[in-house]
Every structure is written in C-alpha cells, then in structure tokens.
C-alpha cells in the first residue's frame, strides 16, 4: 500500500502510463489509416500502371472502338465489348436477384415467424461465404447443361448461365441487407397501418418498404457492385472471347474475366498487355465507384428520420 505521504511513485507511474497511452493511441491511429492508404494505393497503382497504356492507345479509341483484340497482330483496344459483357451478366443477375431477394426480405421481415427468421438468417449469411469459384463450377457443369435442354443451341460458354448463377449468389446479400432495413422500421408505423384496416401485404408494400427505402437501395447497390466485380463465375462459364453483344445467350468476356485471362499467361512486366489489365481495372473501379456514389446519394435522399 502506498500511503498519502509519498505521492511521488504514484505520480511517476501515472506519467509513465499516460506516455504509454499516447504511444498506443498513435499506433492505433496508424492502423486506422491503413484503410486510407489502401484506397490511395489502389488509385495510385491503377493510374500509374495504366498511364503508359494510354500513351499507346488514345483515350478516345479506348472508349469508342468496338473491338478488343490485344493479342492480334494488329491489336485493337476498345473497352466497349468488355463493358457490354459486364453489363449483360450484371443485368441477368439482377433480374433474378432483385425480385427474389426483395420477396424473401419482405416475407422474412413481415410474414415469417420468429423461429423461421432466426434459422433462415444465419443460413443466408453462410451462403454468402461460399467461394465464387465453386459457383463458377455450378454454372459451367450443372446450370449450362440444364439450360441447353431448355434452349437448344445454347453454346457451352454463355452469359445467361453465368448471370443466373451470379444472381443466385447475390440473392442472400440482397435479402439479408433489405431485411435488416425493413426490421429497422419502427413497429408503431406498422400498428398505425393495421389500425387503419390495412392487411399485412398492404402494410408491407405501402408503409414498411417506403420507410426502409434507403436501406433497400443500399442492398440493391451492394448487389450491383458484387455482380459487376464478380470474376470467377464469368471466367469459368461465360467464355473468354470479347464479343460486343447484348444477347445473353452468346458467350462474351467481361472486364474481370479479361484480367484473369491475361494474368494466367505469363506477361512480362511493362508490356502493353500487362498495362492493359490496369486500364481495364481502372474502368471497373470507376463503374463500381459510380454505383457506390449513386447508392450513397440514394440513401441520403430517402433516409427517413424516425
């Protein structure tokens, strides 16, 4: 025990502990800044490695040329075919995932019993962890043969199958995040609606969904950026030939599958092929960033204060 007569050791220990606290605080801040450094590094690396590419290929050609043939004798570098492939697979995926995810979310949040909800939610979260290359296998080996029975003449590699499997893959995300948003709508709003004689479905579609719109929009945006950035499913099942088409039953490369295809070969550092994947990556980053900003703006706009 230290008696009040000798405060000196105490004071010293406090000073030491405070000094230690300051050191630790700056270390923790440094860890927090890793996130900022990562973002800066992503932008820096993509821009720095893509710049030499754009000194070879004029930006106007890159954005408007309709051919992407980097390995031909006379290479053409038009990003449009890759962007089209990305948009088509994304669209197919969303056409499946948004209705299915929303219906599941409304059902779980407004209709299902507590027990059903508590057992389905963790299962949905677990499905989010299934490796995407496994989904790629599903698309190529199981879904495509099945679709070929329905649509004779469907090629072995096609965007439809890849898109549908990406859709199945993102249903859990869309459902889980939308459900969270709907649960956050306070109960008195539902009760007010019931008191006016509305049924559960009317309450769900006219009170809960509008009230949770910002969260639901965020869920959709999350789904879109997953689908745009999804790589392995398209690399396995959609084919690797760049193809400017809006027809999902054809095969086509996406931005992501092009990057994978180039990475699988052994490209020398500093070659134009090496630089082209950074240019493609930059386009991908801009597309996902644009969706994220739209999502951010939407959530701001529709945020309801309770």
């Amino acid at each position: 025990m230290v008696t009040p007569k000798s405060p000196a050791p105490f004071a010293k220990s406090i000073r030491r502990r405070r000094a230690r606290d300051r050191v630790i605080e700056s270390l923790l801040l440094l860890a927090g800044l890793v996130a900022v450094f990562t973002t800066l590094a992503i932008v820096w690396i993509l821009v720095a490695e893509a710049l030499p590419f754009f000194s070879h290929v004029p930006l106007a050609d890159f954005l408007t040329d309709t051919m992407w043939t980097p390995l031909f004798a006379e290479p053409r570098y038009g990003i449009l075919p890759l962007v089209a492939g990305t948009l088509v697979t994304t669209f197919v995926a969303l056409a499946l995932a948004i209705p299915a995810g929303t219906i599941i979310a409304i059902y779980l949040s407004e209709f299902a019993s507590h027990r059903v909800r508590e057992s389905v939610k963790p299962a949905l979260e677990m499905l989010g962890a299934v490796p995407t290359v496994v989904y790629g296998y599903f698309a190529l080996v199981m879904v495509t043969p099945f679709l070929q029975k329905l649509l004779p003449g469907l090629p072995g590699f096609n965007m439809l199958s890849a898109g549908l499997v990406i859709g199945i893959m993102i249903v859990p995300y869309v459902a889980s995040v939308s459900e969270d948003a709907m649960r956050a709508v306070p109960n008195y709003m539902r009760e007010g609606s019931y008191a006016m004689g509305a049924t559960r479905l009317q309450t769900a579609t006219r009170v809960v969904v509008p009230g949770a719109l910002s969260g639901i929009a965020a869920a959709y945006i999350l789904g879109i950026s997953r689908a745009v950035g999804e790589t392995m499913v398209v690399a396995v099942a959609a084919g690797l030939q760049p193809n400017l088409t809006w027809n999902p039953t054809e095969s086509a490369a996406t931005i992501t599958s092009f990057i994978v295809q180039v990475s699988l070969g052994d490209l020398p550092h500093e070659s134009i092929g090496y630089q082209s994947i950074f240019a493609a990556g930059l386009v991908l980053l801009v597309i996902t960033l644009a969706f994220n900003i739209v999502g951010f703006a939407l959530t701001r706009r529709f945020r309801e204060a309770y």
Binding site: R20, G32, V34, I42, I104, I106, A112, P131
Partner: protein, 302 residues
Amino acid sequence: MRAAQAGVERRKLFDKLFVLLGLVVLVAAFAVLFALFLDLLRQGAPRLDWDFLTSYASRKPEQAGILAAWVGTSLIMVVTACVAMPVGVAAAIYLEEYAPKNWVTAIIEINVTNLAGVPSIIYGLLALGLFVYKLGLGQSILAAGLTLALLILPIVIVATREAVRAVPRPIREAAYALGATRWEVTAHHVLPYSMGGVLTGMIIGLSRAIGETAPIITIGALSFIAFLPTPPLTGEFPFLSFAWLKDAFTAMPIQMFNWVSRPDPGFRVNAAAAGAILLGMTLLMNGIAIWLRYRFRKKINW
C-alpha cells in the same frame, strides 16, 4: 357495404398469395443451392480419399491431388490472420474508443465502407503493382497473404466495432473512476468482453479469404506445383525458418479453377472434389463463427 366486404376478402387473398410466393421463392433458392451442393459432393465423391490430399497436381487426372494447394492455402491464411487481426482490431478500437469527431475520422470511416465495396480483383491488381513489383516481394506466399489481409480488413474492422460497441458504457466508466487510463480500460475490460465478437469477425473474414480466387490469380499463383514451400520448422537453431514466405505457391481455389477450365472430364471430377473440400472448409468456419457468437452471447449477462 358488400363491395367493401369483397375488397377486404380480395386483399386477404392477396396476403395469403404473397405468403405462398415468399415461401416458394425462399424454398426454391435454398433447394437450388442444396441440389447444387449435393451434386458437387456426388460428382467429387470418387476422388475424396487420402491419396487426393497427399498427392501433387499431375497430368493424369486420377493421380492428381491437392497437397500443394492445401498447404499453400494454410500458409497464406497464417500470413493473412497475422496481419489482418492486429491491424483490423487496432483500427476498430481506434474508431470506437479513441477517434475524436473530426475530418480524419470521417475519412477513415468513408474509406472502410468504400473498401468493402471494391471488387476483389482490384485488390489483385493493387497487389500485382505494389507488392509483386514495386516492393519486390515477387509472386510469393507473403504477397498473397498481404493481399487477402487487405481484402478482409473491412470485414474484421466492422465486426470488431460492433463487438466493442456492445460493451456497455458503465463498465468503461467504472474503470475510469478507478483511475485507469484509456488504454487500460480498453485492454483490461473492453477487449476481453468483446473477444467473442472479434473472433467471430476474424473467422468470417478468413472464411472469405480462403475462397478468394481472383486476386491470387492476378498476382500470379502457379497452378502446377510439384513441391512444398520450405518447411517453417527446421532441425537447426533457431528452429524457425521464414524462407517459405518468399516461395511460389498454389492454393485450393486456384487448383479448382485450373481443373474446371480443362476439357478432360477426369479433371472435372477432381474440380468437384476440390470444390467439396473448399466448401466444407468455409461452411465449417462459418459454423464455428456462428456457434462462438452464440456461446459468448449466452455467457455474458450485463
């Protein structure tokens, strides 16, 4: 009056129809996935044996195995965990316990949210440019582990923040009242109480990392490796070697991707077997995480 009655009846019918629709969609989603998983297991079953785990990749499908792949994946996960856990937890503690409300904090928060939405292949390009070439780490286990650590950092940070936030204020205030400094409050009270949530977040992050294929392909994993990395334990003093960090590698998802993209049906079977093992690993890890969360929740009564 009768018209109103009919309207009510119709709306009630819609309600029932929607319940039916919801159930059908939910069951269909799970049934499709369940059927796919089952089929994967059935197709891979003939190769799921001890030899498969202890053989290297081979040109003959029936002799090929995943030895190099699972060893590579395990070593990458060690690197990822060793980097993502301390950095992620420290960042989360800073944001929850220390950060003043200013623009620096706001920028960190925006970046964490934004990074969670960046496609994984972009991390691969970052790693290719930065780790492999600019920092000269080469196409190594270290580069792969660091890449996946950056990738799961947002997951670890968000999970840790939630766990830390769940610790009630009075516990902190009691510690402060006894003269503890901020770090003492954090290290002696807040962190032990939130350990369940932190571990859960870490396991979920690792289960995500274990299946990530695209970023590892981008930095140049090899798909045909017939040797193991330098063993981390050696016979001579100091008994620990870190030479494996610089070794070339392959990983489970890479091996599966390589097999599935070959036309030979024999390799498809191998891909299914590797996929079943990979799937089993991620589901097991997630199961453990959910169980941990449940146990820690039950143990603590505020």
